[in-house]
């Protein structure tokens, strides 16, 4: 057996959901085939057990001691075979399940990485996340049930053959009756599933409500409202309880039906068999065996129903995965990417007229924040434009080259979970001095010091244990450690206090000395430290110069950046 997890998931067949499922199964050919064979052995061993009991009883009725012992041993042997085949089958099933699920996870992550910034535009994030939360389960189940379902089919055929051989009419009653019975139960089950589904949704909503209370606990402590929230939770909890009782009402009917229908059928078969036995058409042992088979058949048939259900769900899940796998990024590399001269170069946004001189610390103040964001998107090639670097249009370059030379750091940048040290050092430079300098320039040293394990502390999901201002400073530090040739910063101090803003403004230019930097900001503290300030109104450059000159000479600039008395 191949060891999991596969390092390379391989190239998936994304032509259709069914082909994807077949591809997944095909990747595990050996294990998959073994699963089917073991599933058959397991089921058939179980199927033969009533026969052994019947033969033993027959032996007894003839007072045949040897037959009793022989069939007793056969029964035991079948039990052992069933147990061994069962666990081996389970081993295959789990491994098949995991391989399919893990492979899908890897492909999902690879696709998300490939799509990058385009992902949120191409597909709702919730849809991709649901691949992780439920679809991988469904796909795993679908691959697993295929093996089990095949075993069930073989078992049913075997039992049918034995029964028909023993008594044609009685065999027919069982062979035809049991599927009808199963179909009736399956029909009854449907409303229950609907109810259960609705109940799970309601339960999820209530859990969400409790989680909401926990998340808002700090806010509540400041201002109150606990009795209101408690009362609301109680009301919803009681509603869920009533819902649960409604589900139970449907389910209790079904439980009763599951006793009544197979029970009634069992009685019918037993009664017919008893009469046949009385007439001498079958032996008393066969009577016992018929009873056993009828009871046994329920299990493989249930597996078949389960298989249909799981394959359907797996198909739906696979469809979602395939849809994701087929997505392509917005921006494609040119067929023959241009080469870019080494070293820093001027970055130009043709549309607005913004020119970011090489090796200097430039600031951009826009009357509307959206204008600044659009300019940065063009300069960083997150949207297609005529922007150039070193005079070379960005669209003629490979995207990887652009990303390597230009880093856009905005306030939506994600803080990933993991050790803080690694998070702050995206390219594993492992240079403690650089890290330290970046933290100081971002005025983030105190954040690290306050952590119990310093840089070795773990960043929680989305950095939620840090305040907004702390997250912003950590993001800035990370951008500085990455040390790109050209760094485009968007409002890097919007969430920090005045003192900290002053400290960052003082250190940022020095930290980027000799590199190309553009800061989009309306903070006079930052603007005052820039070598050069560009003022943008209505998406176009309207003035350039030093902060002091613009402040004195441009009333609209003053109005944009001034925070003093009105």
């Amino acid at each position: 057996m191949r060891s999991l997890p596969a390092g390379d998931p391989g190239v998936p067949d994304d032509r259709s959901a069914t082909r994807y499922l077949i591809w997944l199964a095909g990747r595990q050919k050996l294990l998959f085939t073994a699963g089917i064979l073991l599933g058959v052995t397991w089921m058939v061993a179980q199927a033969l057990m009533p026969a052994a009991v019947g033969r033993a009883v027959d032996g007894l009725s003839h007072r045949d001691e040897d037959a009793l012992l022989t069939w007793g041993l056969v029964l035991f042997g079948l039990g052992v075979l069933q147990a061994v085949a069962g666990i081996l089958r389970h081993q295959c099933a789990v491994r098949n399940w995991l391989a399919a699920a893990y492979r899908t996870v890897q492909l999902t992550v690879d696709t998300a990485n490939r799509l990058g910034a385009a992902l949120p535009r191409r597909v709702a994030t919730g849809e991709v996340v649901s691949i992780g939360t439920s679809d991988i389960d469904q796909i795993g189940h679908a691959v697993d049930i295929t093996a089990r379902g095949t075993g069930a089919v073989v078992a049913i055929v075997t039992v049918a053959a034995i029964l028909l051989d023993a008594s044609m009419p009685l065999g027919l009653v069982v062979v035809l009756g049991v599927p009808v019975l199963m179909a009736v139960v399956a029909l009854l089950i449907r409303p229950l599933h609907r109810q259960q589904h609705a109940y799970r949704d309601a339960e999820g909503a209530l859990t969400g409500r409790a989680g909401d209370i926990v998340s808002g606990l700090r806010v509540l402590r400041g201002i109150g409202g606990e009795p209101v929230l408690s009362a609301r939770y109680r009301a919803e909890s009681q509603a869920l309880r009533a819902h649960g009782v409604r589900v139970a009402r449907v389910q209790s009917m079904l439980e009763a039906a599951q006793v009544l229908l197979p029970g009634a059928f069992l009685v019918l078969v037993t009664w017919l068999a008893a009469r046949f036995a009385l007439d001498g058409r079958i032996s008393p042992g066969q009577l016992v065996a018929f009873y056993g088979y009828t009871a046994f058949l329920v299990s493989p048939l249930r597996q078949l129903t389960e298989a249909v259900d799981k394959l359907t769900r797996g198909h739906v899940a696979a469809r979602r995965v395939v849809r994701l796998l087929r997505l392509t990024p917005d921006l494609v590399d040119p067929a023959r990417p241009a080469t870019l001269p080494a070293g820093p170069g001027e970055l130009v946004d043709v549309e607005s007229g913004v020119r970011v001189p090489a090796g200097r610390f430039t600031a951009l103040a826009a009357t509307a924040p959206e204008d600044a964001a659009a300019i940065v998107d063009r300069l960083g090639r997150y949207t297609d434009s005529d922007a150039t670097l070193h005079g070379v249009p960005l669209r003629d370059l490979a995207l990887a080259t652009v990303r390597e030379r230009i880093l856009v750091a905005d306030n939506d940048a994600h803080l990933f979970t993991g050790p803080l040290r690694a998070e702050l050092d995206p390219h594993d430079s492992a240079d403690p001095a650089a890290l330290d300098a970046a933290l100081r320039a971002a005025s983030a040293t105190d954040i690290v010091e306050a952590l119990p394990d310093g840089l070795d502390s773990r960043v929680a999901e989305r950095g939620r244990e840090f305040s907004g201002g702390q997250q912003q400073r950590l993001r800035l530090a990370r951008a500085l450690v990455a040390d790109p040739e050209t760094l485009l910063l968007v409002e890097p101090t919007s969430a920090v206090d005045a003192h900290t803003e002053a400290r960052i403004a003082g250190g940022l230019a020095a930290a980027r000395a000799g590199r190309t930097t553009l800061v989009c900001t309306t903070s006079p503290l930052l603007l005052g430290h820039a070598d050069h300030v560009i003022f943008v109104e209505d998406g176009k450059v309207v003035a350039e110069g030093g902060h002091a000159d613009l402040y004195d000479g441009e009333p609209r600039y003053r109005a944009t950046v001034s925070r003093g008395e009105d």
């Binding site: 052992v80 147990a83 893990y102 998300a112 992780g132 201002i223 037993t270 969430a495």
Partner: protein, 612 residues
């Protein structure tokens, strides 16, 4: 990183489970009784089948066969009816117990002292709220009834077996040591194994969410390889955990399966030998064999639910570990005789009046002279030996607007929390009307002082509920006035369903700025005499924030406002400014005084407000 919340011990869990059962003695008796009757009815068939086989081998009449078949049919019908009612009764009971469990837990969470929450982080609490409540739900709704049914069924089958022939029950005992040892071995290892498996699995899920949410950042910082490495690491951990539980099952399942088949074989062969010896009849052997076979299903169910029961027990322990209101600030409030600060022993009498006013949901009843929060020489440390406040004294005037500025980490927010009674000082005192804030009942405390921080949260519910939650008795006009005071009424009315729009997680999204306005509207409605605003407008556009603060100031006329601000215009507009540095107040005075004094505030102001 964070210290975990405590976990209740086994004795506490048992005690709680017992009290839960004792609350519903009748319902429990009825449910168990019905299950017992249903199980008994289910035992008739094998016995009667035994009679059939016996009769046929001795050559009986058709009438007897028909009668026996009819009898079996009758028992099946009775069993079905009993199963229906038994199931409903136990589900009803389960739902009731479950509702109580989760409601009591949420009430305990709501009474949890903030310091405890902060020490543990909300992550642990969130896990308990979601994962443990669902695990327990599964246990109470499914595992407990299934286990009870299985136990009752096993007991009855054994009883029936003894009735068929005590001798024939003996071969069964062979399986007991096998199953006992196997189950014991498995149960000792399984819960930890499955917990690890689930945790690893949710790591994978979380990893995907993160990859998706951060896809732009991944591209910008070229983190693709790292995301992939993280995924492979998660998968590796998950696989290790899965392999361990698979190993446990690989040992336990075959042992259990063989444990099931051995008694059947033994009953058949040994029973057959007894028959040959003439000690028992053929019918007895058949019935006994069928009974033993029938034992397999309930025993298997029993064993497979056992680990679920264990998981439920562990979840219950974690839920009970979230201490009740007996601990911390909320609880000390109920302690008799809140200690008055020395020097104002007469204060407690008048404060009691304020307390009863607070319960009616309004601060208006508070005695005029009491309406000042006074901070005297306070020290505070989050961790022992590391004070963040070093003897701060602050006496805001009534109706004054006091701004606190200073570098982050200087202790402003800590001081704000002390002022709002969220934390108690390590030494020194924070008092209102001579009574220490940390000894006041929560409702009374809120009538004096409220805190709004930059951390905002929009609760799931309508916009109206989100505002009115601080004062359930508030009228529609009150809510609208509060929204208008924070310039939020316009956009609130423009929402799809106006004030009835469902907001919060999963509802209509609000921008962070709108969420902050909502928090301030709550504050206006709560109307305490002292307000602490910790960067409460930081997420609102600077220009709008200033207007908002001004309109808020008009509404809050006569209230004492202590504002921690990162935008200096708040300081500029305040009556007094306190500069907090390194846990001390280093400058205190009006904006003009401080600018004239030429200290650190003056320097900051000059650079901040834009003058080059």
């Amino acid at each position: 990183m964070a210290t975990m919340l405590p976990v209740a011990d086994a004795a506490q869990v048992r005690r709680y489970a017992r009290t839960l059962i004792r609350r519903h003695p009748r319902a429990l008796t009825v449910a168990l009784g019905l299950h017992a009757l249903a199980a008994a009815a289910g035992l008739a068939a094998p016995r009667l089948l035994g009679d059939l086989v016996e009769g046929i081998s001795r050559g009986t009449s058709r009438v007897t066969v028909d009668r026996i078949a009819l009898l079996i049919a009758g028992f099946v019908v009775v069993q079905a009816v009993l199963v229906r009612f038994a199931h409903l009764a136990s589900a009803r009971l389960g739902e009731r117990v479950l509702a109580q469990l989760r409601e009591e837990f949420v009430d305990r969470v709501l009474a949890l002292p903030l310091a405890t929450v902060e020490r543990a982080g909300t992550g642990d609490l969130l896990t308990r709220t979601s994962r443990d409540v669902s695990a327990l739900s599964r246990t109470v709704r499914l595992a407990v009834p299934e286990t009870l049914i299985a136990v009752v069924t096993v007991a009855f089958i054994l009883g029936a077996l003894l009735l068929v022939g005590p001798l024939l029950a003996l071969p069964c005992l062979i399986a007991v040591p096998v199953l006992w040892a196997g189950t014991r071995w498995y149960l000792r290892r399984a819960p930890a194994g499955y917990l690890r498996e689930n945790a690893a699995y949710s790591d994978i899920t979380d990893g995907i969410s993160e990859t998706v949410e951060g896809s732009r950042t991944t591209e910008a910082l070229r983190q693709q390889a790292r995301r992939r490495a993280r995924t492979d690491a998660d998968i590796g951990r998950s696989y290790a955990a899965e392999r361990y539980t698979l190993f446990l099952r690989t040992v336990f399942f075959p042992v259990a399966e063989i444990g099931y088949v051995v008694p059947v074989v033994a009953t058949l062969v040994i029973g057959g030998w007894f028959y040959l010896k003439g000690w028992v009849t053929l019918g007895q052997v058949t019935a006994a064999t069928l009974y033993v076979q029938q034992l397999v299903d309930p025993v298997d169910r029993l064993l497979s639910w056992l680990d679920e029961l264990q998981v439920g027990g562990a979840s219950m322990a974690r839920l009970l570990g979230v201490a009740g209101p007996a601990a911390g600030a909320a609880g000390s409030a109920t302690a008799a005789g809140s200690p008055a600060v020395s020097g104002s022993p007469a204060a407690s009498g008048s404060a009691a009046g304020a307390g009863s006013a607070a319960l009616s949901g309004s601060a208006v009843g508070a005695v005029e002279g009491d309406r000042r929060v006074v901070v005297r020489d306070v020290r505070y440390a989050y961790r022992v030996g590391r004070d963040v406040l070093h003897g701060v004294t602050l006496e805001p005037e009534r109706g004054e607007k006091l701004a606190m500025v200073g570098p982050s980490g200087a202790g402003k927010s800590t001081l704000g929390r002390l002022l709002a009674g969220v934390h108690a000082p390590r030494s020194g005192s924070v008092t209102v009307a001579g009574r220490r804030l940390d000894t006041l009942p929560l409702a009374e405390l809120r009538s004096h002082v409220a805190l709004v921080t930059q951390e905002h949260h929009v609760f799931i519910g309508t916009l109206r509920e989100n505002v009115a939650m601080v004062r359930p008795a508030a009228t529609e006009a009150d809510v609208r006035a509060a929204l208008a005071a924070v310039a939020a009424l316009d956009w609130a009315e423009a929402l799809p369903d106006g004030l009835d729009t469902v907001v919060g997680s999963g509802g209509h999204p609000l921008s962070p700025a709108q969420a902050q306005q909502l928090a301030l509207a709550r504050l206006v409605l709560a109307d305490p005499h002292t307000l602490v605003l910790d960067e409460a407008t930081s997420l609102i556009d600077p220009r709008a924030a200033r207007e908002l603060e001004r309109s808020l100031a008009a509404v809050l006329k006569g209230r004492t406002v202590i504002a921690i601000a990162h935008r200096l215009f708040s300081a500029h507009d305040a009556d007094r400014v306190a500069v907090v540095e390194d846990g001390r107040i280093t400058e205190l005075g009006s904006h003009d005084e401080l600018v004239a004094a030429g200290g650190s505030y003056a320097a900051l102001w000059r650079s901040w407000h834009g003058t080059p």
